[in-house]
Symmetry: D2
Subunit: 410 residues, 4 copies
């Protein structure tokens, strides 16, 4: 059975010929090596450093090599194991708990690297040592139960840096700089190709949607994408659902007629009327069944069986039935809808974009479209570095995207 | 008993001498009049229009006048009474309900104008006709009970336009234009005077606070204002409390040391450690009692008995104990803390500012300080027209304000 | 010959029957009247006021009427004539000069209202009294010659308020509010119709263009509009021309390949290479003739004989030949190209938009498209209130506009 | 005489012991070495690479070493010399010219590294080979004379990367991220210390000033800094000078009274009156002499003999006498005033900040204070990466800075 280990060498290993002897010893035993790191020092007085990965065909070969090179100063690197402490009470981590990042993470248990499930930033890692092999899972503070084995300190944890290439492979040139002075159409073509690919592989695309999508009249383009299978999960708030229904029932969004751009008489009351109507029917689904709600983004979601999570906020009127007013429950609902999501389109909402970004593994491709560069900047400031920002007009963006993917949606 | 009514006259009332005769009749009976509106027409062919308020010392005098002027074509204006319908179910208004504004409102019941209590935009108005005199109250949709008498249609409702002068008297030059190119110090001096006056009259000042106040190191200035009695109620979210405690316990905000501006090692975990600590103690209050929390805005609130409402959002980690995670409950808590508030300072938070703006009567003076002009613009777009916007640096703003009111706070 | 005058009446003109007698007198003489203003006072104690325009068939009739109504207190309104003073030296106005607005203006000379030519804000008005009738013209301070008759004080000047309806008739709903949350496509359809109409009437459309148009890859859409006759004059700076030529010669803008979005190796030197190439040929025109410059916005301008003004600024590299480096000369060149312009499209440039706005009569329709709301706000702050702001992505905006007007331009 | 060279070694230099022999040979001859680069390869099959700087006490020692190690495969690195071509005409670089960066640059001529004078981005480098040693100088395209020896291609050029540490030593924590959520006061304290140090060493501080400094009432703080010797050069445009004089003469800026914040009657004409007054006197200096201009930033500059450059733009009214309307001349004037400048404060002006940034060597400390993060972002996008951005309120910033350095300035 192939086996390997990593050794370190320090000191005047070049001029003392130690490095050569170590490498010779590996070769003689039929092993091969990778010099993972080498620092030759800069002058004759400096000490050198080498970290060498040794691969051999068997544990015996490896032991033989180690027996030869240990006297030369080669020291095998021993990885620390994690340390765990039980949670002192429900909803409380032990002191000195390890706080997770959103990058793929492995933890060292009994000599093996165990992957951490459900990775998410700012959580604890709970391990179950009773399984074979043991398991490790990211757990938000509110879900911790007294006695859970929570990793403390920083030992035995390996984080895989995000492969920039994955993001860049798809989103090529966009990089991390947020600028309104770039070609949006190029980015859009890339995103469209990614969406086709994800749909073809039956994975999921999540749209996180703010009310500006409705106010600008872009709801119909979003509906077209939903109906064509390009949006598979939708996150939003009370506002986007309210104005979408306002438009569906009364033709206005925030009181402005989307056919003419003119404010309707008493239009400022339309959104609360829309809320009242859906409350009267009891749910969006019942309003669809009753033939009252016959168009719009919510209608498209329901007709096409798209999962949606509407999370409440203190700005909300109403709220609409189905809006999850408890923020912790809403986060849980969002987490449960991330399975198989490979691309997130964040469309003109700072609150929901940041909230979703908090829950996403760093490896998920994320595109944030907003006319305000501050939204994208804030998203990155709060840890969602993977988000590619496109400073654009969400209406024209969705119109173009729908034309790319579905043909004209108007 | 003084009494009054309003009459209308239409037609060729000038050249036919009707207007003169009406005014004569009022004068002869010892009444006096106010011509509330007069439209002379523009040419000899046009009809004229006059609306005249008649005041008399007694109902008898008024009746006498009316008996004389009715034959001249003067028609008493009869105000419609409101129409009410019972709410069809809990949480649902009757169709065609009247949706409130945030301006002082009176409703016409049995010939009298009844003031509407607890005025707030986008609510229904519930009347209790069993009292003498009847009462009217603004009720949000979620608090409606089946059978409540809700006003429908638009009849019998009188809205008092906001007296611009009230806002302008205090905030003089600022007007509604949002600009970063105005003298902040002048606005600041005005606000400081208003705050002194409110404190002297034992009314209340509400601060709505975002986490940038903590990140920028301005928490100490806010604390100084709280301690000196200039802030009497505080609204915020989980983030402002978290970073405030992070600073109190660990000296950082979002991981950045506020003494040096340098990011602390592993500082990105500090906020979740702060949350864990307070969760361990069970509440901010207990952490203060335990001598663990000894400085910061939350500490100042607790030590000085200031009411605070921390409203949760889906962006939150944790959350901190005491954060109200249900958005509808949080709105109720905010409403209950608006009594006697005469000035609201909105400091660097779009979400909480808009949420508070939604609940405020239009007559309450509101100042929104944000480095981003979009925050103020959005606030106004969503109906809080009274908000005076100051585009400034919240740290320097609070530093100056504290120096004005308290002397140096550093 | 029809003639007219305006008289004022003050005092207790209703109950003293004076108003009626005046109106009777006019009617008796066969005249007719317009009550331009009427203030009835609000109570019996207040004085009333009427301003009445009297039209008669002849001066005799008018004189007769005036002779009857003067004893009733009717006073003919006599308009002040303007006062002029000679400019004390070249480039200096007399003290107390009248500073112009950008609204249509008339000045009172020898009893007549003379229109002011070339109206523009912040200029002086120079009158030529030697002509019959006299003439009046707006003159910028730098063009004043010693001895010019410049209007001083505020007498004898009549400004025609901008008819909001003209702007609104075309741009309907857009009003003055700047918001990114409005339907861009609706505005765009309106603008397209306006452009068709102007082209059909052989009037002109001016595009004021910033380099973001090139950086975003929207140059080809602008070229399509130029080639189809929808843009008749172009204003810009060195940067837009430089990056346009950079793209034409090297395929990049600011070093970024517009086909791939990827930064070209040594791409940051491309713009200065583009400048060097055109300098070598001596002008854009010669580079076109030589077959070196074969595409792009400048190419389209030259091939279609479109007038352009490139104004220099201190940010410029080079500059390109043809760029007018003197700002006063550049302003003159811009002024000379405003003739017959009925619509101005300001595309992603704050400097050139404000500069053009300064020179435009207020009646010219102006649309400012920028992703940054601050640009539109600044434009209005500096007096160009007529500008309709569209907060959008200039690339997608021009793409849509070109598709509306020309069909697909890609 | 100490001498040195650089050699390269390639191949299996570790296991073949070549590297050791080379290092031995150097040591034997009394030389010492720096391993500038070492790539050990990653596996036994890979070739290694070393680049070694050899220092010896004499050319003889070096020759001896080289004679020993050349047979081992050590190859001396020979630096290419630059290539030059004569400029083909005035104002035109030869094709393939080398375009400069703003970083310290050396060019290889006759075996030596010659420093490039007056380094500035986007220029050509002209060498004078007739001097001993030869000289090299950055020359903007417009100043090139036919026949100048301009470097072409990229050979023989060495750029010294900016030592981040220099910027960071002073501005510590600020880094390159632009954020409004950082403590301004900390940055301010750092800047104040830097200013004290520069003043003490009699070097210069340049302020680049936009009109918002005047509009916000911060002019008096800037004057205080000028008067105390903390600002030694001032760059701005017509607008800042105009509004400064408007304030000095009429108490308003853009028509708004800076004592009360209220718009003055006819205040929109004040700036053009201010311009007219200075034009009448002929210059700022003469207006000061005449006792007409007695306060303000321009007054402070003149009274304290501060150099200023006012650069014109096409937005300008007037302009003021002394404004350089030609942009190329203005750039030259700016260049001539950069001597001894060690710190640049860019205060609320995008145009002048970018223009100044274009002319600055990268090593000059640059702080950009603007309420709009886009200004700082644009500055960096255009190559001025060294600029530290502070998103703040320029009025409060200058007030605090003046209080730090001068004591209260109000």
């Amino acid at each position: 059975m192939l086996t390997s280990t990593v050794v370190e060498l320090k000191g005047h290993i070049i001029d003392s010929r130690i490095l050569l002897e170590v490498l010779d010893a590996i070769g003689e035993q039929g092993g091969n090596f990778v010099i993972e790191e080498f620092d030759a020092g800069r002058t004759g007085k400096d000490s050198s450093y080498a970290r060498i990965l040794i691969n051999t065909a068997s544990q015996e070969d490896l032991d033989m090599i180690l027996s030869k090179i240990r006297p030369l100063g080669a020291a095998e690197i021993v990885y620390d194991e994690i340390t765990v402490e039980p949670a002192p009470q429900d909803g409380v981590f032990p002191d000195n708990f390890y706080s997770s990042t959103n990058l793929d993470t492995f933890v060292r248990i009994r000599g093996s690297w165990i992957p951490v499930d459900a990775i998410e930033m700012d959580c604890g890692i709970v391990v179950d040592l009773s399984c074979t092999p043991p398991t490790a899972c990211c757990v938000p503070i509110g879900s911790i139960k007294k006695g859970d084995n929570v990793i403390v300190g920083g030992k035995g944890i390996k984080i895989v840096p995000m492969e920039k290439s994955i993001q860049q492979e798809v989103f090529g040139f966009m990089g991390s700089t947020v600028s309104s002075e770039r070609p949006t159409v190029l980015a859009l073509a890339n995103i469209a190709e990614t969406m086709k690919d994800i749909r073809a592989r039956k994975k999921k695309i999540l749209a996180v949607v703010g009310p500006a999508v409705i106010h600008t009249g872009a709801g119909k383009h979003l509906s077209a994408l939903i109906e064509a299978g390009y949006i598979n999960v939708l996150f939003g708030g009370n506002a986007v659902a309210t104005h979408d229904v306002e438009w569906a029932l009364l033709g206005t969004s925030l009181g402005v007629c989307l056919e003419t751009g003119i404010a309707a008489p008493r239009g400022h009351t339309h959104h609360i009327r829309a809320i009242n109507t859906i409350r009267k029917y009891g749910s969006f689904e019942k309003a669809v069944e009753a033939g009252v709600l016959t168009r719009g983004v919510m209608y498209s979601c329901i007709k096409h069986g798209i999962s949606y999570v509407l999370a409440g906020s203190i700005r909300d009127d109403g709220p609409m039935p189905g809006v999850i007013t408890d923020s912790v429950e809403a986060q849980e609902a969002m987490r449960h809808n991330l399975k198989d999501v490979e691309l997130v389109l964040m469309l003109s909402t700072m609150l929901h974009s940041i909230a979703t970004g908090n829950l996403l593994p760093g490896r998920i491709k994320t595109v944030c479209v907003d006319i305000n560069p501050a939204t994208v900047t804030k998203l990155a400031d709060r840890g969602s570095h993977q988000a590619v920002g496109i400073v654009s007009d969400v209406e024209l963006f969705l119109k173009e995207l729908a034309e790319h993917l579905v043909g004209s949606s108007t």
